[in-house]
């Protein structure tokens, strides 16, 4: 009996400290989420303007035969999988890995690039098609890192070995909602209505082709950066949610165990009193 009480007490203590940790992780995730959201907002004007410029060049200059803008005849594709470096973020990673596995099951001719430790570790054991992995970039988000990755992707594409480069990632909808989407990063596909294009006649220097060359690189840079930011914001959102429910569960458990503890304590006291009183009764007889 006494052993049981002590056991419950220990459990309560350990759950309390777990709760403290999950609660702290929730706070940290919330703070990081705010920072990530802020960065997404800051990257938006640049991305929007690059898109605008590509639209102008693609539809006005009849540049659709530029290699960055049109599909090639190759059938091989690259799928870039964005996962997180750390766990404890609910179904964030498992969902995306499941989707990715489904995709490469359907399209056998797909090579993989993994960004994020979780996806890389999982897929390394199960597929032999990973051509590149990047780990630990979400800790210190830096545009120059994303630029390096983008340069490599561009090389893969321009070497004409691949027809398309796609990214599967968690789109950041809100702090509590993430959407998994697959997006083409190359060739550059921008859909636009005719009336959206400015009707001005631009002078180009040096010439449109060179500008698309350079602009395409910038486009890949900023798109990848935007996706990395979205994924990291979504990760923090997922972690915040997971840690919030973990904290709630811990609170529930503590409540329940405290009840058991009190019951057991009461039972012990009652038992002791019964023992004493029955002992006294026996003497009186």
């Amino acid at each position: 009996m006494t052993g049981n009480i002590r056991y419950i007490k220990n459990r309560i203590e350990s759950i309390k400290s777990t709760k403290q940790i999950t609660n702290a992780m929730k706070m940290v995730a919330a703070a990081k989420l705010r920072r990530a959201q802020d960065r997404i907002l800051k990257a938006r004007p640049y991305a929007d303007h690059i898109n605008q410029m590509i639209k102008i060049l693609k539809y006005k200059g009849k540049n659709s035969e530029h290699p960055l803008l049109c599909t090639s005849s190759e059938s091989k594709e690259i799928l870039i999988i964005l996962t997180s470096d750390r766990g404890l973020c609910g179904s964030f990673n498992s969902n995306i890995i499941r989707q990715a596995m489904k995709y490469i099951h359907d399209k056998k001719d797909t090579d993989l690039i993994c960004i994020g430790k979780k996806g890389a570790d999982y897929l390394k054991k199960r597929t032999g098609r990973i051509i590149d992995t990047y780990k630990g970039i979400f800790n210190e988000m830096d545009f120059s890192v994303s630029k390096e990755i983008a340069a490599k992707i561009l090389n893969f594409y321009l070497d004409k070995k691949y027809s398309a480069i796609k990214v599967i990632y968690n789109e950041f909808k809100s702090a509590i909602q993430q959407n998994i989407i697959i997006k083409d990063i190359l060739p550059i596909t921008i859909f636009t209505a005719d009336n959206e294009i400015s009707m001005l006649d631009y002078i180009y220097e040096p010439d449109q082709y060179t500008i698309i060359d350079e602009l395409g690189k910038k486009y890949v840079n900023i798109e990848l950066w935007r996706m990395l930011l979205e994924s990291s914001a979504a990760e923090q959102g997922a972690r915040m949610l997971a840690m919030d429910s973990a904290t709630n569960n811990a609170t529930e458990l503590i409540k329940e165990l405290t009840l058991y503890y009190n019951r057991a304590r009461q039972a012990r006291i009652t038992k002791e009193i019964i023992e004493i009183s029955s002992g006294a009764e026996a003497i009186n007889k």
Binding site: H49, I50, M53
Partner: protein, 131 residues
């Protein structure tokens, strides 16, 4: 008449304001933009961007990017642009030396275009510091 100049970086908007006149290092030479400039799209080469406003000028070292001029608006997209306070003089000096040495060397495995670009960047930075 003034023109609106917006300098946009991937991580932030550097400048957004009205200026009288701006000189930009385009890839085929520096060019100035005043109001009523014709629509224009060009690449930027490493150099110095000068903004004029009410008899004051501000100079920035710019490394790469694009300019769009339309309707009295100048949009500058660039990855790196620095004011005087942001430049590390020693690093720029070192970068200049390194680039110069690479250009002088006779080895064949050197990416001369890259070294040249690095040299131009370092020179732009150093020019800003010297005023």
């Amino acid at each position: 008449m003034s023109i609106r100049v917006k300098i946009i970086q991937p991580v932030k908007i550097k400048t957004d304001g009205y200026f009288d006149h701006v000189i930009i290092p385009g890839c085929e030479g520096d060019f100035g933009v005043s109001s009523e400039h014709t629509p224009f799209i060009t690449k930027i080469r490493p150099g110095i961007l000068t903004l004029y406003k009410d008899n004051t000028t501000s100079k920035l070292a710019i490394h790469d990017g694009f300019v769009t001029v339309e309707n009295n608006q100048v949009w500058i997209l660039c990855d790196t642009i620095e004011e005087e306070e942001e430049i590390d003089a020693e690093r720029a000096q070192a970068a200049r030396k390194r680039a110069e040495n690479r250009l002088k060397s006779t080895e064949t495995n050197i990416d001369f275009r890259r070294a040249e670009a690095a040299l131009h960047r370092a020179i732009a930075r150093l020019t800003i510091i010297k005023g």
